[in-house]
Amino acid sequence: MSREDTLQILAGFIRDVIGDEWDDDMEVAFDTSFSDDLELESIEFVALAESVQAHFGDHVDFVGWISNLELDQIIALTVGEVVDFVESCR
């Protein structure tokens, strides 16, 4: 699976989390920021984490990774960084 594929999977989860307020004009790219660009609330991020964890399974310790990030790192997090993390677990 390529980085691009992982990005698309994440984009799907993000769409689900945003739900009704998703708009097709919203773009999820590697440099898309969860906070600034997607305006994801921290609580929405929890929901996203659940989906990611469920999809990629135990060998991708997403929850552990996130739990060990500093808060300002989480705020500045981009989709690309999550993709890189998922890829690094392979």
Binding site: I18, D20, E21, D23, D25, M26, D31, S35, D36, E39, E41, S42, I43, E44, F45, V46, A47, A49, E50, Q53, A54, V63, G64, I66, S67, N68, L69, E70, L71, D72, I75
Partner: protein, 1380 residues
């Protein structure tokens, strides 16, 4: 002598970057902003990668600004029409210059006494304005002459039509726009509009232009001839001809990528943009305390001299320019860290530039080489400015920026000290020196050396447009989502109703996004700064809760912008360094935002807090005074809130799972139940670690928070004592508003001791925020405002997921404090909550859209038919060649035309129908077409009786016709019939039908109106205005201002278009209309001018309304809103019932519309009635008799009883009247006219300001109307009596009574023989007796016939049963009343 020149301000617009902040963000992030030219720039047919033809180019890729750029014409005092006709680059340059001066902190005042120059690089290339001019003046003639040459038999009128159409399509050009096409205006307009008095001029040195402009500027400043100079370059709208030049030279990149210094570079891509720098001598800038981005140290320029070709760059010339600049700079070349190269990505150019760099800089420390052209394309005369601004920002921020597409650097680069980097790198050296190249065609070379000033300045996070406080905002309201959609699609704003939409930065793309939400009809609350609510949570009765947040890990509010805006003292601890400071900051911020929200007219229905936010809540509800809390916080030194060894951990799960995670562990508890997916655990370090591992294993995110405290858990029990002491001293008052506790999930108690207990429990018991939010939702709270910054909105959204609610924060670190408050205000407004949004939304003039492209024109398919029909005539030409050609052409076009016509006949629809909802909400301008103006702010629209003006009815009919035949225009209207008024309150939906018969369309609004319209593919050529001048013009008795002020016209602002009234004479009248916004308002205003003529010329029956027109002809599109249209009216005749006239409407000297025999119906009015109609608060229909007022309907000429009813009665009164039967109605109305006048008269005598009749509401009882509304409390009473169209009324502060008895028809049952003894045989004695007894009986509440007897008095004054009654003869009646 100071030689350094400080850069104190920047402004730019480049591809992908509307401003400097975004430009730098793109540069730093290596964003490629090159894209394909759209057809709006130049037509696709010009693109052919395989052609070498002069009119074909082999690449479409370039760096583009948006195809349409909004320009705020009003900001610079430019008329919109002039803006549309000007060169777009001049206007954008004006904006960029103003931005640069703003950035430099130079406002109009500070510029007034300074010598400010403007020097801009700009080329003399073809731009949209010149293209338009050429089309109008030369190409149109060229087209006509070719038509005449090839088809001599062509009807000259057809040629003229085609030529005129071509000129029309070319766009605006006339005396008011011509000046906008003079090229130097790019600079001079800036000096003119910004009132600068230094030199202002453009220079052209091809691609070196901008740096040559900078060189001039530096010279001006060093010589002391200018105090400030704006220097830069402008290159916007490169025309297809410009592309052709570069294609012919082979300089365009076939790959569409400008890969400077890459081995595979194959040429340049064309870019566009504008960049400017505000420059000042360094010593002056330092003395003035200016922000200094960078210091220009040296400038140099040189020409190549006699080279092999003007097109081939010559190293010697470039070297000379660089040497001159470095000599001028006096800076060590080894200090150089960055070269912003000319770097065009052409083989010859890159090679020569690298040789120049090697020669000048030789060996030395490593330096970075790059070219911003790889990101935005080659912006030609502006390129030097693009490069210089990039270099200035690089030294300012201490960042070595990347350059793109240099994957395989040219071999020569190896030997130099330079390298190209693909990612930004920090540039930390204290001396940051950069240099910029710009080399122009023909061998003109320029170079600038600059260096950073002081330490590098970190980049403040750039705001997205929607996050800026001054972003434009669209607000729209309507009754329903459907109506809102109609308004949105019509491009309207404003409106009224509970269904509301707000969009920040309403670009077309963002409006499209908002539209989707509206179409779906479901609420959209905030994402992307769009809010939509189909019915409004607060409008529907929801309550507003204010939530005060507590301490969170992140606390970085932006408050300065809010403090400045409201003139409030900002909070002190906004960048805290310990937990206690954070606590103070949180409380201060809550109080600060509370004050700001109240300035916005916001108020909560209830209040809650999270953790120490409850203390803020106690202040907000008046439970605790600010001073006491301040004293408490003052005393709270480091350590007060902290508990050593105790940690908080946030877990992304609900309480159930959290309980499992802490099961069996010591010294740990759930301290915060925040929402369904977050709890906070509080405990000793070891227990927290175990619980955290358990949670992460279970897939739950769990993070240790960066502060230690045991708040809201038993672990804090040992630390509560100081708090208990403090609260014991506090003077606690009951809350003025409901304050809810997250400890008990109940309201706070009122008793001070109970409050103190709860405050302590709050410190050691868990917060039950989830339950509290659920409880408040059950109590009716729908809107949750976070009065602070933090996560509470997220908690609410999580807890109430799926339920209708709004959670919104008053502060949000990711945008400016003011922008977030603006967002909050919009969110509240959309839900119908009280908030004064206007206090936050910047007022901006309308923008003019500047089209940056100049695509080919099309005249539309219709004219093809015209040409083919008349080319048949061409065969009569004598020339055999032309004859043959004509035959062929004719045959071809005939068959083509036949096929086309047949197809059109078959496929064209014959009928169209649709519906249109009309109300004051769908068309807010109709508020202003209410026949009966009411007091300002009167809330019952039906009292104004808003009616669709006949001219708007015509527009609706025209629309229907255009729906049926899209692309065609209506050129003629006739057989107009209006059946009845189209009243729009309540809302009404009408059926529109259009049916086609050849060129004619019959359009109707079912039951209301009908018209016959002639349509055509294009307007016919306009005849010249034909009316003779008025023979004996005189000025009108009132002017245009008085016309509306004195309500000669009932119309409100959106229908008030007459800006000049008069002159007039007996034969006609003229006026100037500034086209207002209401649909159909332009012709309505023409009708007003006609109507006014009647008012001025006649003194009876002055009210007239249009009823028909014989013929309306149009010769061009409707003039835009704000256009000045001359209206000329020539009276055809006046008689008792009607008035007829011809009208001409002339726009910009051309006849736009002509109307034959416009007929107004005259309504019966006498001066008295007319005055009441216009200004009912100042006039009365009844007549004063001192003790009473009398209204005799036969004494007046009034249009109808309906008119009087609407003038005098409010909505419920009208309903009561209509319910009182045909006979009762007359009396009902007459009585109320007299009664309302009596009350109004008395109140006015008491000094109450004039009242409209609707402000004196009377109850429905026919005999004894009772004063309602605010007047009910005054104690005034009103008595009325009526007989046969005459009513009398008396207002008094006691129990008045009045009677009206006809002399001729006395009821004998009233009169006994004894009663008549008081009269000396007067003929009306019996009537007097009856009247006196009636009054007395009213007072006594008795039957007048039996019980009462006259006890004394005379004809004018009788005493009946102890009651003194006065009498007077009033025509055929006796009026009697009692005065006590």
């Amino acid at each position: 002598m100071e030689r350094g020149v400080a850069v104190i301000g920047l402004g730019c617009v480049f591809p992908g970057a509307p401003d400097v902040a975004s430009y730098w963000r793109n540069i730093k992030g290596g964003v490629d902003c090159v894209s394909e030219a759209s057809d709006a720039r130049w037509d696709g047919e010009f693109y052919d990668p395989n052609s070498k033809a002069v009119d074909r180019v082999y690449s479409r890729r370039g760096g583009f600004l948006p195809d349409v750029m909004p320009f705020e014409a009003g900001r610079f005092g430019i008329m919109p029409v002039a803006a549309e006709g000007a060169e777009p680059d001049q206007l954008l340059a004006l904006k960029v210059a103003a931005d640069a001066l703003d950035d430099a902190g130079l406002d109009r005042e500070s510029l007034a006494n300074q010598r400010v120059g403007v020097i801009l690089g700009r080329g003399g290339y073809l731009t949209p304005g010149l293209v338009r001019l050429n089309r109008k003046v030369r190409e149109a003639g060229q087209l006509a002459s070719i038509l005449r040459e090839l088809a001599p038999g062509l009807d000259p009128a057809v040629v003229e039509t085609i030529k005129a159409r071509f000129q029309d399509e070319a766009g605006a050009y006339g005396p008011d726009t011509a000046i906008g096409l003079v090229p130097n205006l790019a600079a001079s307009r800036i000096a003119n509009r910004l009132d600068l008095n230094g030199p202002a001029y453009t220079v052209d040195a091809a691609c070196a232009s901008a740096l040559i402009a900078v060189e001039h500027a530096v010279r001006e400043l060093r010589d002391g001839r200018c105090d400030v100079v704006i220097a830069g370059g402008v290159h916007v709208s490169p025309d297809i001809t410009f592309w052709s030049v570069f294609a012919q030279l082979g300089a365009l990149s076939r790959s569409g990528t400008l890969a400077a210094f890459d081995q595979g570079a194959d040429g340049l891509v064309i870019g566009e943009g504008i960049g400017m720098l505000a420059l000042k001598r360094l010593d002056r800038a330092e003395a003035d305390g200016d922000k200094i981005y960078a210091v220009l140290r040296g400038v140099g320029s040189a020409s190549d001299g006699r080279a092999a070709s003007v097109m081939v760059p010559r190293v010697a010339g470039q070297v000379l320019a660089l040497e001159r600049a470095w000599q001028d700079a006096g800076v060590d070349r080894d200090a150089l860290g960055l070269v912003e190269a000319h770097g065009t990505g052409t083989n010859a150019g890159d090679r020569a530039e690298l040789r120049t760099l090697t020669e000048v800089f030789g060996e030395g420390p490593e330096a970075v080489l790059g070219s911003v052209k790889t990101m935005i394309g080659h912006t030609m005369p502006a390129a030097g400015a693009a490069g210089l601004i990039k270099a200035v920002l690089a030294v300012h921020h201490g960042v070595l920026p990347p350059s793109l597409h240099c994957d395989n650097p040219r071999a020569e680069l190896e030997a130099t000290r330079f390298s190209v980097i693909g990612k930004a790198k920090p540039w930390s050296s204290p001396q940051r020196v950069a240099a910029v190249n710009a080399f122009g065609f023909g061998g003109i070379n320029a170079h600038v050396v600059l260096e950073g000033h002081g330490d590098a300045v970190a980049v403040p996070r750039a705001l997205k447009p929607i996050d800026a406080a001054d972003a434009l905002v669209l607000r729209l309201a309507a009754a329903t989502p459907e109506a809102l959609l109609v308004a949105l699609d019509a491009g309207r704003s404003g409106g009224e109703g509970p269904c509301r939409l707000a969009v920040v930065d309403p670009t077309p793309k963002r409006i499209a996004r908002a539209r989707k939400a509206v179409v779906r009809g479901e609420a959209w609350r905030g994402r992307g700064a769009i809010w939509f609510s189909p019915s409004g949570l607060v409008s529907a009765g929801g309550k507003v809760a204010w939530m005060f947040p507590g301490i969170e890990a992140q606390f970085a509010p932006e408050v300065a912008s809010v403090a400045e805006h409201f003139g409030l003292e900002p909070p002190v601890h906004t960048a805290p360094t310990d937990l206690e400071q954070t606590g103070r900051g949180v409380v201060e911020l809550g109080r600060f935002l509370d004050a700001a929200l109240r300035r916005l007219g916001c108020a909560p229905d209830l209040v809650l807090g999270h953790s120490i936010g409850e203390w803020s809540g106690m202040m907000a509800t008046g439970m605790l005074s600010n001073a006491e809390v301040d004293a408490f916080l003052e005393a709270a030194g480091p350590g007060t809130l902290e508990v050593p060894g105790v940690l908080f951990a946030a877990a992304g799960c609900g309480v159930g799972q959290a309980r499992e995670a802490i099961a069996g562990l010591e010294d740990i508890a759930i301290s915060h139940d925040n929402c369904l997916h977050q709890v906070i655990l509080c405990g000793e370090q070891d227990s927290v670690s175990v619980a955290r591992e358990r949670l992460i294993d279970a897939g739950v995110i769990c993070q240790v928070l960066p502060f230690k405290s045991g708040f809201h858990s038993a672990l804090f029990a040992d630390y509560v004592e100081p708090h208990r002491k403090h609260f014991a001293d506090f003077d606690l008052k009951p809350a003025a508003l409901p304050l809810w506790s997250a400890t008990t999930v109940e309201r706070y108690p009122d008793a001070p001791d109970a409050i103190r207990d709860l405050v302590i429990r709050h410190l050691v018991e868990p917060l039950r925020y989830t339950e509290l939010v659920q409880r408040l939702f059950a109590e009716g709270a729908r809107v949750f405002v976070q009065v602070g910054t933090g996560s509470l909105t997220g908690f609410v959204d999580d807890t109430l997921a799926g339920e209708p609610h709004l959670a919104v924060s008053a502060n949000e670190p990711r945008r400016s404090g003011l922008a977030q408050l603006r967002n909050l205000a919009l969110a509240l407004w959309v839900e119908g909550a009280d908030v004064e949004v206007d206090a936050l939304v910047p007022k901006r003039g309308p923008t003019v859209d500047l089209a940056l492209g100049a695509p080919l024109l099309t005249l539309g398919p219709d004219l093809r038919g015209r040409l083919s029909a008349s080319t048949a005539v061409a065969t009569t030409d004598d020339s055999p060649v032309m004859s043959a050609f004509g035959d062929a052409l004719s045959a071809l076009s005939r068959s083509g035309a036949d096929v086309l016509e047949a197809y059109r006949e078959r496929s064209a629809p014959k009928r169209w129908s649709g519906s249109r909802t009309l109300s004051v909400h769908t068309d807010p301008a109709l508020w202003d077409h209410s026949f009966f103006p009411q007091p300002p702010g009167w809330s019952t629209p039906s009292d104004g009786h808003p009616v669709v003006p006949m001219t708007m009815t015509i527009e609706l009919l025209l629309d229907a016709a255009r729906q049926l035949v899209p692309g065609w225009v209506v050129v003629e209207a006739t057989e107009l019939q209006a059946f009845k008024w189209l009243v729009v309150e309540p809302e009404i939906t009408v059926e529109l039908v259009a049916e086609r018969d050849g060129d004619w369309v019959r359009a109707s609004i079912t039951d209301y109106a009908e018209i016959r319209l002639r349509m055509a593919p294009a307007f016919p050529a306009a005849p010249a205005p034909a009316f003779d001048a008025l023979p004996s013009p005189r000025s009108t008795p009132v002017d245009a201002v008085q016309l509306y002020q004195e309500r000669w016209m009932f119309h409100g602002p959106r229908y008030q278009g007459i800006t000049t009234l008069g002159p007039m004479d007996d034969s006609g009248i003229e006026g100037i209309i500034t086209a207002p916004e209401g649909l159909g308002s332009l012709l309505d205003n023409a009708g007003q001018i006609l109507g006014y003529w009647l008012m001025a010329a006649e003194d009876l029956d002055q009210l007239a309304m249009p009823v028909g027109m014989d013929l309306i002809e149009w010769f061009e599109d409707h003039p835009p809103i704000g256009a000045e249209v001359l209206c000329r009216v020539r009276i055809l005749g006046v008689d008792d019932s009607s008035l007829a006239a011809d009208l001409e409407l002339v726009y910009e000297g051309r006849l736009w519309c002509r109307i034959r025999n416009w007929v107004d119906h005259r309504f019966e009015t006498d001066p008295h009635v007319w005055a009441v109609m216009r200004q009912p608060e100042h006039h009365m229909l009844s007549v004063d008799r001192g003790a009473y007022r009398i209204f005799d309907e036969s004494a007046h000429r009034a249009p109808s009883r309906d008119w009087l009813m609407r003038r005098y009665l409010g909505e419920s009164e009208r309903a009561a009247m209509l319910a009182s039967g045909p006979r009762g109605q007359r009396r009902f109305l007459d009585d109320r006219i007299a009664a309302k006048d009596a009350v109004r008269f008395r109140l006015h005598a008491d000094g109450v300001p004039p009242l409209f009749p609707v402000e004196v509401p009377l109850g429905p009882d026919l005999d004894t109307p009772v004063l309602g509304g605010p007047l009910a409390a005054t104690g005034w009473q009103v008595a009325v009596a009526h007989d046969a169209g005459v009513s009398v009324a008396r207002a008094s502060d006691g129990s008045g009574a009045i009677a009206l008895v006809p002399v001729e028809t006395v009821d004998e049952g009233f009169v006994s023989a004894g009663d008549l003894s008081f009269f000396d045989g007067a003929p009306d004695a019996a009537a007097r007796v009856q009247a006196a007894k009636t009054v007395a009986a009213q007072r006594r509440g008795a039957d007048p016939r039996s019980l009462l007897a006259i006890e004394g008095g005379d004809a004018d004054h009788l005493v009946v049963d102890g009651i003194s009654v006065k009498l007077v003869r009033e025509g055929a009646h006796i009026v009697a009343w009692s005065e006590t």
